[in-house]
């Protein structure tokens, strides 16, 4: 028995099957052809043993040579066409199945592009990946082979019983006595294995989760010298898995043994009782031979169907999870009436904006109002969790405001398309997020039509050019996903270059300067000055220098703006900002 992958039960399988069928229908003709081939091959598969039986009866026992030769030739023909039709049916089905999977995968990926940020924030990447990979895998392998197997199993079963009945109803009846035995046996086993497999899945989930977490944090384990403790916890989970798996596997391993028994029993019945009947002249030896072969052909499809059924269920469950994502509300669904935001000077206004990530509970930000003139730099300051990132999220319409409105150049941004809004914005985020590709390609991501010269120009303005030239392949250096080769600070410089190239009117900088060493930071500060020139910039920063030079400082605490103004103005107020500023310079002692 092959070890089963995650066995999930589908919620309601019929609509899911319908949808899968919808994909398959794109290759309707192919499917009809495959079905035809399955019928042909099943027929031929039945014909073979039948003719062998005839050969024995008509020609061997009666020693009729020429007749035998003729029969054998036709038998050869049967075998050749059998192989041919089997090959054709699979060849075609594979093409259809892979095409269907390809389409589903593409649809899923495209859907990812349309979904709102809130969708991704709420889920773990690993889980989404699992849908695109594991679940699709299930669907793929099922479509590849299971569909055909099920069809041909059913056909073979029906055909086999048909011929058996025609040959000898008596023997057929005898052979079928094993069926109820099989049913009860399987039921008894699957009743137990159902629970056992669930237990097994959960314990291996726990074990694997533990392994993943520990290995990811292995350095911490070593630094804190907690190896013994971790090993202990590991063994606990491993033990649990071993136990549950033992029972699950042992019981499910009984299924082939049961099948074996039934095979042997039916063989015995046919040989013995069939032999008795042959003795009495009720049936011929040839019929016995046919029956022995057919009885094997009979139990095998039944076994197959049982196996395939589980795989099928699992695949349907997988497809369901894929369709779940496809049915999610897209980000732009509310944009039917939206207009396009054209030329923008960069004037931004927040009017009494309130928002909360949770449905109930306190607001993340409340009644936030301010305005920024074109080209101004606005610094957002405040303790962690005060709402700074939220304001940015709302401005870029990653989330929607719940109260109040945000205006750009006098237009409410909820009335314009997101794409047009974002086309005027540039981002330099805490996580620079560079793609696998050359440095040049990464910078060009800011504006795909930019020329090489423009890319270099942007890199120069971002103070990235000098370190790029020091690299062995310079602009053609390939960046890998997990930072290698270049430092965090350098990655930030590249993401600044990318933003410069994009030439946005509104700029958003989210804690971009806090992970950088001081030398590179000087470079970054210069680069940012270039970047911010003439653009309306929103900066979340901790560096006093940046804050001091801002045109306006918004001090946030617990979701509200508690102070607003320039550096000098706020110092005069002698409030929160004043405290913050002085606590930095002089430690706790003021005065």
């Amino acid at each position: 028995m092959r070890p089963k992958a995650k066995m999930k039960k589908p919620e309601n399988w019929f609509p899911t099957v319908k949808r899968i069928w919808g994909y398959l229908r794109e290759r309707e003709k192919g499917i009809v052809f495959v079905l035809l081939m399955v019928i042909v091959s099943s027929m031929l598969g039945l014909l073979g043993p039948y003719l062998v039986g005839v050969a024995i009866d008509e020609y061997i026992v009666t020693k009729d040579e020429s007749g035998l030769l003729l029969l054998l030739c036709s038998l050869l023909g049967v075998y050749v066409f059998y192989s041919l039709s089997t090959w054709l049916q699979n060849y075609w089905m594979i093409g259809i199945a892979q095409h269907t999977v390809y389409r589903m995968r593409s649809d899923l990926f495209y859907q990812f592009q349309l979904l709102p940020i809130s969708f991704f924030d709420k889920r773990k990447h690993g889980e989404l990946m699992s849908r695109v990979t594991n679940d699709m895998e299930n669907v793929s392998s099922t479509l590849n082979s299971s569909v055909i197997q099920i069809f041909s199993s059913v056909l073979t079963l029906v055909g086999t019983i048909g011929v058996m009945l025609w040959l000898s109803p008596l023997l057929t009846l005898l052979t079928l006595t094993i069926v109820p035995l099989m049913f009860y046996g399987m039921k008894w086993i699957t009743n137990r294995t159902g629970k056992l497999f669930k237990e097994q899945q959960s314990s291996i989930g726990e074990l694997n989760g533990f392994i993943e977490e520990t290995i990811s944090g292995q350095r911490i384990v070593k630094t804190f010298s907690q190896e013994e403790k971790v090993i202990g916890e590991f063994l606990e989970r491993s033990e649990r898995y071993k136990r549950s798996s033992f029972w699950a596997q042992s019981y499910s391993g009984l299924i082939p043994k049961l099948m074996n028994l039934l095979n042997n029993l039916s063989f015995t019945i046919i040989a013995a009782i069939g032999g008795y009947l042959a003795l009495k002249g009720v049936v011929s030896i040839g019929v016995i031979v046919i029956f022995t072969e057919y009885s094997r052909q009979f139990t095998r499809p039944l076994n197959e169907l049982a196996n395939q059924f589980n795989t099928l269920l699992s695949a349907i469950a997988g497809a369901e999870r894929v369709f779940e994502v496809l049915d999610e509300r897209e980000e732009a669904q509310d944009e039917k009436e939206a207009s396009v935001l054209r030329h923008v000077t960069g004037k931004v206004e927040f009017e009494q904006v309130s928002f909360s990530y949770e449905k109930e509970g306190h607001n993340t930000i409340k009644d936030v109002s301010f305005h920024a003139n074109p080209g101004e730099t606005i610094a957002l300051v405040g303790p962690t969790g005060a709402g700074k990132t939220t304001i940015i999220n709302l401005l870029s319409r990653f989330y929607e405001v719940q109260n109040g409105r945000i205006m750009v150049d006098g237009q409410d941004i909820s009335n314009v398309t997101r794409a047009s809004l974002r086309s005027h914005m540039g981002f330099v985020l805490q996580d620079s997020f560079l793609f696998q590709g050359t440095i040049r390609e990464n910078i060009r991501f800011g504006r795909l039509e930019a020329s090489d010269a423009e890319v270099v120009e942007a890199a120069k303005l971002a103070n990235a050019h000098s370190f790029i030239m020091k690299l062995p392949d310079q602009y053609d250096t390939v960046l890998q996903q997990d930072d290698s080769g270049i430092s965090q600070g350098q990655r930030q410089l590249l993401s600044i270059a990318r933003a410069i190239l994009a030439n946005p009117t509104i700029l958003i900088l989210d804690e971009a300067t806090s992970n950088i060493d001081t030398i590179t930071e000087v470079k970054i500060q210069e680069a940012l000055e270039h970047l911010m020139e003439g653009r309306t910039s929103f900066v979340i920063a901790h560096r006093l220098n940046t804050i001091q030079q801002a045109d306006q400082i918004l001090v946030l605490e617990k979701g509200r703006i508690i102070e607003k103004g320039s550096h000098r103005e706020l110092l005069e107020v002698k409030g929160f900002y004043y405290e913050l500023y002085h606590s930095q310079l002089k430690g706790d002692k003021i005065g």
Partner: protein
């Protein structure tokens, strides 16, 4: 692959049991056609009913015996496979725990995880299958041929000739298929890579309006995957039809030849039937065999990956002598002409570094990225060994102190806060087993996170991680600090651990550290404001110690330092200091 067999040794008894009953099953299956031949030849043809009844009952009895044996086989095989899996997993995990940092650097975390999970499971299920069915297929093939020979040599020769040809064909197909599937795996990795990037960079993609670009990129990778998969599967699918055709042709030949022999009286009908039966069973077994070969190939690949870990040599050995006297440490750290490079790399990360941090001092370490600061930190708990020079803790060489004791003295807060799933309380208590709730709360208070925790619905029992809440960057950092503090360390290493904190909170934290703990604190920081609180500042550049002194001293004398101050405070900063 063979190396792993030694883990099977303890279960020899059960293996023997499982294999014995496997043979019984096989024996029964092989004998059946013979018995049926007897029924036909001696019973039906001779019109002797008693023979039919006799052999029929024997067959029935054998079927039942085989079944019972099969049950034993299933349980025995399961026991062996699960225990084997447990042992291998245990060995692997313990080995990984013993890995030094440089050992860990050789393997990506995801790779280690896959090896511990998927690869072990693959090997384990192969063992399971091996004991239950795997051996049957080849046994059936061989046994079938042998029995056929036993019945009638000349007729059986057909089988003897055909089968090696078929096996050869199967092996050849499998090898090619393996290569094809490797190609499929690579394409799949590509597709997954694009998806992963897209999931991680959703914001960037949306903001730069790169949807179409990404869709195109994905389509290209997905298309290649489709092509490769289709081609590979189609190739594999030709195996069975060809196999069936050849075998069936053989059966035809047997029948024809058989009829010849019957007419010469050389053989009886029942015997021909028996050989045809054997041929049909061998066909089934051959197809199972081809499937089994893929399984074994995959298991071998997994076994190699598992052995990779087992064979790795640990390169950081614990202190051999315990000439070490126990007792309390003060926390004085001294570096004496220390040079260090990472294993396998050319460049020296630290060059001739010497400094002393007196017990209970606060030392700030500053410098550009790559200057060597984190590397310096990693040497203190002896996560790596140095190339030259000496490091002393309380005047005792690090290499003389048992690793466990050494690390117990140290509280390390890395740059990136790594927390585990579990309650907040569990996470903090991770730093010290058996920590009481008072100790935990105290550490949390000092780390400036106690109030935040108390505002959560379940407070200290709130679960983090997969199903729990997500904390902000600053909150994670503070938890990470609390975890280190609960240990009551003699040495506290803070690697840029306050980067996500606002100035006020950071100030309170540093103050609490000074008041609440009598430990030597080394803090890597970029912020001048933090460095100002320190007793002395180390300025590193490209692995060398460029300056050392108090803030005031450096501000006056060191050009680099002045530049740094200016970048953070502007001219005002300098002015401010000159006043005090």
């Amino acid at each position: 692959m063979i190396k792993l067999f030694k883990y099977l040794k303890p279960y020899q008894l059960f293996i023997g049991l499982a294999l014995f009953f496997l043979l019984v099953e096989l024996g029964v299956e092989l004998v059946q056609p013979l018995l049926m031949a007897k029924i036909i030849d001696e019973g039906i043809m001779q019109k002797d009913l008693s023979v039919v009844v006799f052999w029929g009952s024997i067959m029935m009895g054998m079927a039942l015996f085989s079944f019972l044996g099969g049950i034993v086989n299933s349980f025995a095989a399961s026991h062996v496979a699960q225990s084997f899996g447990y042992d291998v997993r245990k060995r692997l995990f313990e080995k990984v725990q013993a890995f030094s940092f440089s050992n860990l650097n050789k393997f990506a975390a995801s790779s280690l995880i896959t090896r511990l999970t998927n690869d072990v499971t693959m090997i384990q299920s192969t063992v399971f299958m091996g004991l239950r069915i795997m051996l049957r297929a080849p046994q059936m093939v061989i046994g079938g041929v042998v029995m056929a020979l036993f019945v009638h040599v000349q007729l059986a020769l057909i089988l003897v000739i055909m089968i090696p040809v078929l096996v050869f064909f199967l092996v050849w197909m499998m090898k090619r298929a393996m290569r094809l599937f490797k190609g499929v795996q690579e394409r799949l990795d590509q597709v997954n890579g694009v998806i992963r990037e897209n999931l991680m960079g959703t914001r960037v993609i949306k903001v730069f309006l790169r949807k179409d670009h990404e869709v195109k990129r994905f389509a290209a990778a997905s298309d290649e995957l489709k092509e490769k998969t289709t081609a590979s599967l189609r190739f594999i699918e030709t195996t069975m039809p060809v196999l069936m055709l050849i075998m069936n042709g053989g059966i035809l030949f047997i029948i024809w030849l058989g009829s010849e022999y019957i007419s010469t009286g050389d053989i009886q009908v029942g015997e021909v039937v028996a050989i045809v039966n054997y041929a049909m069973r061998i066909t089934t077994s051959l197809s199972i065999l081809s499937w089994l070969m893929t399984v074994v190939a995959r298991a071998k690949a997994s076994a190699d990956r598992v052995n990779d870990i087992v064979d790795t040599e640990i390169d950081l050995l614990d202190a051999k002598e315990t000439g070490h006297i126990g007792g309390e440490y003060e926390g004085k750290i001294q570096f004496d002409s220390v040079s260090f490079r990472y294993p396998g790399s050319e460049a020296l990360v630290l060059k001739n570094l010497s400094f002393t941090a007196e017990a209970r001092e606060t030392v700030a370490i500053m410098g550009a990225t790559g200057a060597g600061k984190t590397s310096l930190f990693q040497l203190i708990p002896r996560l790596f060994d140095i190339e030259s020079g000496y490091i002393y803790l309380d005047d005792e060489e690090l290499t003389h102190i048992p690793l466990h004791t050494l690390r117990k003295q140290i509280g390390y807060v890395p740059q990136e806060a790594v927390l585990f799933s579990g309650s907040i309380r569990d996470n903090i208590a991770w730093g010290k087993e058996e920590a009481s709730i008072e100790e935990i709360m105290l550490a949390a208070k000092h780390a400036q996170i106690h109030e935040t925790i108390m505002q959560l619905p379940k407070q200290y029992e709130t679960t983090l991680g997969q199903k729990g809440i997500n904390l902000s960057g600053g909150q994670k950092q503070r938890l990470s600090i609390a975890r280190a503090l609960v240990r009551n360390p003699k040495i506290l290493l803070l690697d840029d651990s306050t980067s996500a904190l606002d100035l006020k909170t950071e100030g309170k934290l540093l103050h609490a550290l000074k008041k609440g703990y009598s430990c030597t604190t080394l803090i890597i920081t970029q912020k001048i404001s933090t460095a100002m609180e320190a007793d002395k500042i180390l300025l590193l550049d490209e692995g060398e110690l460029v300056a050392i002194g108090t803030y005031a001293q450096l501000a006056e004398t060191n050009a680099l330092y002045q530049k740094i101050i200016q970048s953070q405070f502007g001219k005002e900063g300098l002015r401010f200091e000159a006043k005090s």
